[in-house]
Amino acid sequence: MTKTTDDELDSWRTEWASQTPPHQDLQVWLSGARRRATRETAWSVLGVIAMFIIYGVMAFQSTRIEWVALGLAGCVFAALGVLVMARVRRGTWKPVNQSTRAFLELYERRARAQLRLIRFSAWLGLGWLVLVGVPFIYSLWKDLAPKSNDFFLGVATGLVPLLVVSVWSMIRQHRRATNDQREAAALLAEYQQPT
């Protein structure tokens, strides 16, 4: 407590403390949030496991070589994605200490990690398309093209909107992460300057 004979400050403090904005029951909210967080973590882990099971079953149960290749490639790309994400996000969960500087550094690190992940996702997506998508479509084309005249139309209507949405979403996320990183870096620089 600051002992003060400062009338102006005392009056400000009294006025300030006399008004508390209405707020919810935070204890109740926190218990709910903890339950939700546990549930979300469990669902994320289950999602990754399910992805490996689906690709694994596809690779080991299918009798056709293109589906086996797709399953194996799916497992490899998913494992690569999980590994890189874990590596890039290391050190971005909590600040090294509770200082403001550590918080700002953490947010800058998170923005940088986000940028790296977006770039990696773009390369991963491109790799998937070139190494897996195109050969897979080619193998399907060999079988289906003689039977169907609309093969390429079908592929185009399925693939083009997906590509457009992915690229648009990636550009948006990249722009946001770049802005976040710039702002965090500027704030950090401002914070380091003596006042």
Partner: protein, 174 residues
């Protein structure tokens, strides 16, 4: 053994939360005008506090620790969201139910003074607002230094400037 410690820690945290909720709510209000977003910020602060609580080893006062977490969240919030314009229904007293009896003149004047102070605090630049907030919440210079990660001398300099800015904002509003 671990479970008993967890339970003690949980109880201690609940007590801390109960004790500091009004102050945290005021702090959130000074970073965010809109009621809905203010509640979100308050939730973010509480979540951050809950995550950080196990790391509290008593190196600083409990008060400084709580405000440091809250301040850091508020700062991040202010950095991410530029302040919205002041809307009439988001003014501090706008959600207080209207009394059926007319308020005595003195109470009205007090309410106006409180509102003016809140609006003036919110209008301060971030660097000034953060020190003024902590000063108004009765933190000592040492605790403010601890929260902001600066020296006590620096706190004194900042406080001097921030108080002058607050005084000017209040005078401008009159």
């Amino acid at each position: 053994m671990a479970s008993a410690q967890d339970s003690t820690g949980k109880r201690a945290f609940e007590q801390v939360l109960e004790q500091y909720t009004p102050a945290l709510s005021r702090l959130a209000a000074s970073y965010e005008r809109s009621h809905g977003t203010r509640e979100e910020l308050l939730q973010e602060i509480v979540l951050a506090l809950w995550q950080a609580w196990p790391s509290f080893r008593g190196e600083c006062s409990e008060r400084a620790f709580v405000f440091r977490i809250a301040h850091n969240r508020g700062l991040t919030h202010a950095w991410k969201r530029p302040p919205a314009h002041e809307e009439l229904d988001e003014l501090p007293d706008a959600r207080v139910p209207v009394a059926s009896e007319p308020l005595p003149e003195q109470a009205v004047a007090e309410r106006e003074r409180r509102n003016r102070l809140h609006v003036a605090v919110r209008s301060l630049p971030l660097a000034h607002r953060e020190v003024v907030l902590l000063l108004l919440e009765d933190l000592s210079h040492a605790d403010i230094a601890e929260v902001l990660g600066i020296t006590e001398n620096n706190v004194a300099v900042r406080l001097n400037r921030a108080r002058a800015a607050l005084r000017a904002a209040l005078e401008a509003d009159q």
